[in-house]
Symmetry: C2
Subunit: 247 residues, 2 copies
């Protein structure tokens, strides 16, 4: 997993430091040094809400969460997805109020970490600060990659990128990546990717026809990805329709 300094041949997403061990280590660290309050959640439960006073950061221990931003007109927009080891509520630090809703999409457990206590302990245990900074930094990077996808990629590539992101997230947590079930509806995926649910459906169908992915259940939420790098080449093929010399 080499960082691309000269030739970015491998456009992989996650950093070497962010893997199973890193995640487990961070969770252990938190548990050990802080009064974490464990909270069980079920699909649809709201962990924290936009506008609410900021006190705690939330770290995912298990399950899977979405961040929802409310537009001015009241329509919601998914702006982030979070798995084990990810932090939520970070955007609330600046102005003392949360900036998004964090919503559980499955049963799971989040740890509420009082921000004050984290800062206190951070003075004695710098690794805690490192974990916080790493989380924010990764999040920043991720958001910018998202932004770029939205600006530059056609729908098919965005959907493929989404699957690759999901597979990478599973990989970083030591889970199998060749087969998993999407825990979001087409509408939610489309909302996250800035397109309609029909476009998501069509993109998935095209990938299935191209044998980049395969569906393994009748509800078409279980997805099989024989080779993750097939997704990458699919993305590139979609972006460069006509291979012609640089004139």
């Amino acid at each position: 997993m080499q960082v691309h300094s000269d030739a970015p041949a491998n456009p992989s997403q996650h950093s070497a430091a962010f893997d199973v061990r890193g995640i487990t280590e961070t969770l252990r660290l938190l548990q050990q040094h802080l009064p974490v309050q464990r909270r069980l959640v079920h699909a649809g439960d709201v962990v924290c809400q936009v506008g609410q006073k900021f006190n705690c950061l939330y770290v995912v221990n298990s399950g899977f969460f979405k961040l929802v931003n409310l537009s001015a007109e009241g329509r919601g927009q998914v702006v982030g997805l979070h798995f084990r080891g990810d932090w939520m509520g970070l955007e609330g630090i600046a102005d003392g109020h949360y900036g998004c809703d964090a919503v559980a999409m499955d049963t799971g457990e989040v740890w509420a970490i009082p921000y004050d206590a984290l800062l206190q302990s951070g003075l004695r245990t710098p690794a805690l600060l490192a974990a916080l900074h790493g989380a924010m930094s990764r999040e920043l990077k991720r958001d910018r990659d998202c932004l770029m996808s939205l600006c530059t990629l056609p729908v098919d590539a965005r959907v493929a990128g989404f699957l690759r992101y999901w597979a990478d997230a599973l990989d970083a947590r030591g889970l199998r990546t060749d087969q998993f079930t999407l825990r979001m509806t087409r509408a939610e995926i489309g909302n996250y990717l800035g397109m309609t649910l029909e476009s998501v459906s069509r993109a998935l169908s095209r990938m299935a026809r191209g044998e980049v992915i395969a569906f393994t259940d009748k509800a078409r939420r279980d997805i099989q990805i024989p080779r993750v790098d097939a997704l990458t080449s699919f993305i590139q093929s979609v972006c460069a329709p006509e291979p012609q010399a640089t004139h």
Copy 2:
């Protein structure tokens, strides 16, 4: 400048804590506690580059900068704009390498802050950490707002939102907001907003026809905004074409 807890009647962007005093105070703090290395730059100068080893964070003292992300195919994408008091290079903390190019768009001065030194001093002066965390948190919020604009707003609204963002940024730094000169070409704006330069031009022309803005020079880079809230209502008018009851 009230934070919206119940009724978000005022969809303003920046937090109360982020204003002229906050910015000056932060800069003073840095200067006082850290070995900042001042660096003068001119338009086009690259402050830090993607892939380069991460050592320092950069804080803008004057001038104005863009963050450029390189896509897999090598095309650049503007993913952020930064003014006095803003931090750059934050995305490099996680994996030890910068994730974007930071490019000056005007003559100015950045302060290079060794990250290690910042952490050291942060242990003795928690206000330094607070500044860092605030910067990252704001940035996160901002990126997500961007993301949502890209997903949900038509081009006209995005361009209007861009002008409002710029005006807000100037306002937060105590500068006049009723008139300023855009220091970006239409192509750069379009790149940042995920549209073509022609679309930017057309959107600006429409706003000028609607007297939401006015051009004051022949090159059409100086823009006059009599009332910033006219931009807001313009955005809303573009988003809700047919005003009909909720059925």
